[in-house]
């Protein structure tokens, strides 16, 4: 009788085969897929470039600022960059469908630019990176954050030093 139960169950459940490519594919929310970069929250520490085992990430200095490039064709989805990023500027999306024709090989790049800016205090040209304020006590207000961000690294240190901290 056992085979009859199995037969009835299979009739009830239908096939186990996934519908893809004729229908949508099952994708877990936390699947480690394509890299996504947010230039506005990047701190410019370049730790991701250093920890990437496949050298997929490359920063370069250009006249406009610092560029970020991640070539998906070398990325091994290990997640080191996301793990080490201090400001959560790099994320792994759950997008897994990266198949492409060979002519588009070198277009599979996640590109980002951290632009240059003039320091609000001294006028020097510096990168408009996200400031490192995790350990600032008390935490910076939104206003202070934008003020801090508009400065060069040296003036940022001065700004944090001269900041009035209520006792």
């Amino acid at each position: 009788m056992n085979f009859l139960t199995i037969f009835a169950r299979n009739l009830k459940q239908g096939p186990q085969t996934e519908a893809f490519p004729l229908g949508p594919a099952f994708t877990p929310d936390r699947l480690r897929g394509r890299i996504e970069f947010k230039a506005e929250s990047c701190e410019g520490c370049r730790i991701c470039e250093r920890v990437c085992p496949a050298n997929a990430i490359r920063f370069a200095k250009t006249p406009d600022g610092m560029t970020f490039d991640c070539w998906h064709n070398t990325c091994v989805f290990c997640g080191n960059c996301e793990f080490y990023c201090p400001t959560d500027a790099i994320h792994q999306t759950n997008d897994w469908d990266l198949s492409h024709a060979n002519v588009d090989k070198f277009d599979m790049v996640e590109h980002g630019l951290i632009p240059n800016q003039k320091c609000a205090d001294c006028g020097a040209t510096a990168l408009n990176t996200a400031p490192m304020v995790k350990n600032a006590k008390p935490p910076l207000s939104a206003e202070e954050y934008t003020e801090l961000r508009a400065r060069c690294p040296k003036c940022r240190a001065k700004y944090l030093k001269n900041r009035k901290v209520p006792a």
Binding site: P15, Q16, T17, E18, F20, P21, L22, A25, L31, P53, A54, N55, W71, H72, N73, T74, C75, V76, F77, C78, W96, D97, L98, S99, H100, A101, N102, K105, M108
Partner: protein, 145 residues
């Protein structure tokens, strides 16, 4: 005379797949086996079937970064596959070298030796991604036939 278009119609339904391991770590090979053999991802719905001989193949899946040691064997095997063939590079290794890039024992990227048509990056790619790549390859193959 009238038979030839009919043959074409029948032939374009079922591309057979051949798998070349060009020094892969077997991660991609396991995913390719999963794609073909497990009912959950059943690639035979697309008419594809793995074949044991390169002479029967239409679509070639290549995994691995093409190590120096297997280069001659891979090229000889690739020559044996009849035209028109479509080549799919599975995994990041044949596309760019992946983590083995710039190694003295590795000749990646593979497209300097073999014309590649479709790339499926991933380390290893999901079975679904491989199916997407094969579906893309089938479209190219139908155009060529």
């Amino acid at each position: 005379m009238g038979l030839i278009p009919d043959f074409k119609k029948i032939a374009t339904r079922s591309p057979w797949i051949y798998r070349i391991n060009a020094g892969s770590c077997n991660g991609c090979d396991v995913e390719m086996a999963t794609t073909a053999l497990i009912p959950r991802y059943d690639i035979e719905r697309l008419g594809c079937q793995y074949c044991g001989s390169p002479k029967h193949a239409d679509i070639v899946l290549i995994s691995g970064p093409l190590t120096v040691r297997v280069k001659d064997a891979v090229l000889r095997m690739y020559e044996e596959i009849p035209d028109p063939k479509v080549t799919v590079a599975v995994g990041v290794c044949p596309i760019s070298g992946g983590i083995f890039r710039e190694s003295y024992a590795v000749l990646a990227p593979i497209d300097q030796y073999i014309p590649i048509d479709v790339n499926v990056p991933g380390c290893p790619p999901r079975p679904q991604a491989i199916i997407a790549g094969v579906a893309r390859a089938i479209d190219i193959w139908r155009e060529r036939l």
